[in-house]
Symmetry: C2
Subunit: 207 residues, 2 copies
């Protein structure tokens, strides 16, 4: 019996669930009790999928995306444009970019961003493979690092690093997010959206 | 590769986490990615604890509380007053009652409450063992069913069922919760608290 009055096996599950981000002790208890109230097969199915998670999910050596073995889903897809690479910070960013279903190039995941304060320099990031890809003759490198100070610094660093390589460097647009009302936007986003305004006729043609 | 662009093993974990109460698909993804970013031992430890959860946690035959084997922690504790039983609806209610650290009697868990609409009658609840305990000479049965219509109906039913048995029947007090401000309380709670007011001198002596 655990101090909390819970049987020890339940307390162990609750404790481990509570170590996940955003899950407090009360939520963890609710989740543990929910699992107990459901058929045992639900818990064992979750257990089995967790047991093999790290073993079965790795990262592509070339681009750093999630990969089940060797080259990833994207690098293996010959229909994608291998000359255009979109650079992001984390593997999850690739999942988000793919939701839009518009991009047909490849990805490169840095697995972090430059942060001198935390001691993260280029050596700590997935950069050597990117050097190779640029040297092999990339046409365009789209910098999709986050719109934060560190993300912006990382984009500037990369633009300088590959300046002489001949690759075209671009940065994803910043402006008003789709579906948002102006009155709730911060002034930096608004002034950026105004600075980087595009000719309306051009936009209309692109649709 | 899963439709979502996630590797299938990750997608399986995310899907199962999303089936838990209060965990939406976005939270489930965040949890799955967090597990992936942590050492593999964290996932396997959680997996192992989930795998044995149902096998190791059962219910006490006598009182219906959680039990790791045979009689539960409470029924096995000879220092507790076996003549006073607090009746609750669910095993989790026992954990909540124990947090107060004040009660030294035993518990009885109904594993539900009467609900004619949902077809839950006395036969569907953990009642036969309670009949035996009352017949064996219980002194007091404290009804701690929830303060809802169904919980109240269940308490009324039990009070009638054991009316002739000689057991003293009591109901946990209803009133203003500790630490609450009157202005935020509902009118039913307030009028109940007023009806069931206690002599202030008595309360002071009890402290």
């Amino acid at each position: 019996m655990h101090d909390s009055g819970m049987p020890a096996p339940l307390a162990r599950v609750v404790e481990m669930l509570a170590s996940l981000p955003g899950i407090g002790p009360k939520t963890a208890l609710r989740l543990g009790l929910n699992l107990l109230s459901r058929p045992a097969s639900d818990s064992t199915a979750l257990a089995e999928s967790l047991a093999v998670l790290h073993e079965q999910v790795g990262f592509c050596e070339t681009c750093g995306c999630f990969s089940e073995r060797g080259l990833c889903h994207f690098c293996n897809d010959s229909r994608r444009d291998a000359h255009t690479v979109c650079l992001v910070e984390q593997p999850v960013d690739v999942l988000m970019m793919e939701r839009g279903h518009g991009f047909r190039g490849l990805y490169h995941v840095l697995h972090g961003r430059l942060s001198p304060v935390d001691g993260v320099g280029p050596e700590q990031l997935h950069m050597a493979a990117l050097d190779k890809r640029v040297a092999a003759g990339l046409k365009e490198l789209i910098l999709a690092t986050s719109a934060t100070v560190d993300g912006e610094a990382t984009a500037h660093y990369l633009a300088r690093r590959y300046d002489a390589s001949g690759v075209k460097i671009s940065r994803i647009a910043r402006g008003v997010p789709e579906g948002s009302e102006l009155e709730y936007l911060d002034e930096h986003t608004l002034s950026r959206a105004l600075d980087q305004r595009v000719s309306w006729a051009v936009t209309a043609r692109q649709r």
